[in-house]
């Protein structure tokens, strides 16, 4: 996976845009913060998601975090394998750890997403 080809959200999701489909996962930066994942909640195929709206949650022993949709659309695929083995999110966040695919309506806005460089800058300026 060429990380510089992906788009990013300030809430640490990555988005791979291909035609009308946006594949979504969480970044390695976010995955490293998730120690001892115990539970992953994902949406169903057909669910509508809003831009920057929560579509799932990842739970560790200590806390629950929402996962946000980088773009608006309809869930077209869900990586069900993760539910049984959520640690995959940590081990391969940009590959086998993908979460969902979102089908976007024509004209869906993606201009708000960050480039690789912009996202790296955000991480660095947050003190990491």
């Amino acid at each position: 996976m060429d990380l510089s080809k992906l788009k990013y959200s300030p809430t640490h999701e990555w988005a791979q845009l291909e035609g009308d489909t946006c594949t979504v996962g969480i970044t390695s930066f976010a995955a490293e913060q998730l120690q001892d994942i115990t539970y992953l909640k994902l949406p169903k195929v057909g669910d509508a998601v809003k831009q920057e709206g929560p579509f799932g949650e990842v739970e560790t022993v200590k806390a629950v975090s929402d996962i946000y949709a980088p773009v608006a659309g309809t869930i077209s695929a869900v990586n069900e394998k993760l539910v049984d083995d959520p640690e995959t999110i940590k081990n391969d966040p940009f590959g086998a750890g993908w979460l969902v695919k979102i089908r976007m309506q024509p004209g869906t806005s993606t201009a708000h997403l960050l480039s690789y460089e912009q996202y790296q800058k955000q991480i660095e300026s947050s003190g990491h």
Binding site: D36, T38, Y39, E59, V61, V64
Partner: protein, 358 residues
């Protein structure tokens, strides 16, 4: 006010522990990971910095009278070197703190919760009145560590001059570590066998490193919380508060209403006649954890609230403690917990969730 730091703070930071605020102190929540550390304590031995706990000592002819005045358990029947758990209640029977009292041939000591230390010192001073007691808060001059797990006693053989494995459960001994005065007790907050050691702050790092070298894994407050939850030990601020009384918390064994008067006794005698929510254990279906504040439901009626919950690493189950109406508290009762809008099935189970094999 800036958070306090234990004498081991620099060690924790150097080992890249994740630090958090707890009870006014900056404490390590984890080093390598909560589950890793939790498992070390269940299967071998873990080491905790618990220097944030308040350590008070009492001398003078009226020390016992003062303790009896504020303590729900009976200190008068304690033997020398014995340790006893009990509550400090307010006049309404609510819990001000849960504490350990230590009896020495020459005086008394008390270990209180970090977040309640100043409140309890003030409370004791307020109730000292004309009693002849000298109380000292030794918290900031000393440190306290816990070594817990089935291998704790084995790896601590020869650590102190007194042999900790000869101590009975809930007994303590004043002794020495490398010539320095310390106290070792057969106590803990994990559901495992083990010891706790108190020593001057100057000796903290060296003592800690000694125990690490013996094979104990450093553990943070995250594992301490999942361990005590599985063992169903109450945590102040969650299962115990100023508006929860010890009887509804299931701690009647630590309340001796017949020992003579103490603060809160009259209120507790009245309260015990009234129906009120009681502490129960819940086992949830699935892996999602119930968190503090989640509603507990019986059909369309909310019958209580969760006070602590987590995925239990040893039990491999989602467990929680909650206060529920007495009619929903029987073991086996089927209830539901509202987790972020989803109703999850739960069953009332016997406490503790986890009990070590003896």
């Amino acid at each position: 006010m800036a958070n306090l730091r234990t004498p081991l703070y620099d060690w924790h930071v150097a080992k890249k522990a994740k630090m958090v605020e707890f009870g006014g102190w900056e404490m390590p929540v984890q080093y390598t990971g909560i589950i890793d550390e939790h498992n070390a304590v269940r299967t071998a031995a873990g080491l905790f910095d618990i220097s944030h706990m308040g350590r008070l000592s009492f001398g003078g002819p009226d020390a016992l009278s003062l303790i009896q005045r504020v303590f729900t358990n009976n200190a008068a029947t304690m033997k020398d070197f014995q340790v006893r758990y009990g509550l400090i209640c307010n006049e309404r029977g609510g819990v001000r703190d849960d504490v350990l009292v230590y009896r020495w041939p020459y005086g008394w000591a008390m270990v209180v919760n970090a977040s309640n230390r100043l409140k309890i010192v003030e409370w004791l001073n307020q109730h000292k009145a004309n009693l002849n007691v000298q109380m000292q808060d030794q918290t900031l001059d000393s440190c306290m560590i816990a070594v817990q797990g089935p291998k704790a006693l084995e790896i601590c053989r020869g650590l102190t001059e007194a042999d900790a494995s000869q101590l009975k459960y809930y007994y303590a001994a004043p002794t020495r570590w490398k010539g320095k005065q310390c106290v070792v007790s057969r106590t803990g907050y994990t559901g495992e066998d083990g010891i706790e050691v108190m020593i001057s702050k100057a000796a903290a790092v060296e003592l800690w490193q000694d125990v690490v070298a013996r094979g104990a894994k450093p553990c943070g407050l995250g594992a301490r919380d999942t361990l005590r939850l599985e063992a169903a030990m109450p945590l102040y601020g969650h299962e115990l508060t100023e508006t929860i009384d010890p009887l509804q918390a299931g701690l009647a064994w630590a309340v001796k209403l017949d020992k003579g008067d103490f603060i809160g006794r009259a209120a507790l005698e009245q309260l015990q006649k009234l129906p009120r929510p009681v502490r129960v254990g819940l086992e949830l279906e699935g892996k999602r954890a119930a968190r503090e504040g989640c509603g507990v439901w019986s059909g369309s009626r909310e019958v209580g609230k969760v006070t602590s919950g987590s995925f239990g690493p040893t039990l491999q189950k989602s467990i929680a403690m909650a206060y529920v109406e007495p009619t929903s508290a029987a073991v086996g009762t089927r209830l539901e917990v509202d987790i972020r809008g989803d109703r999850m099935s739960a069953t009332v189970v016997k406490l503790p969730f986890y009990e070590r094999k003896k």
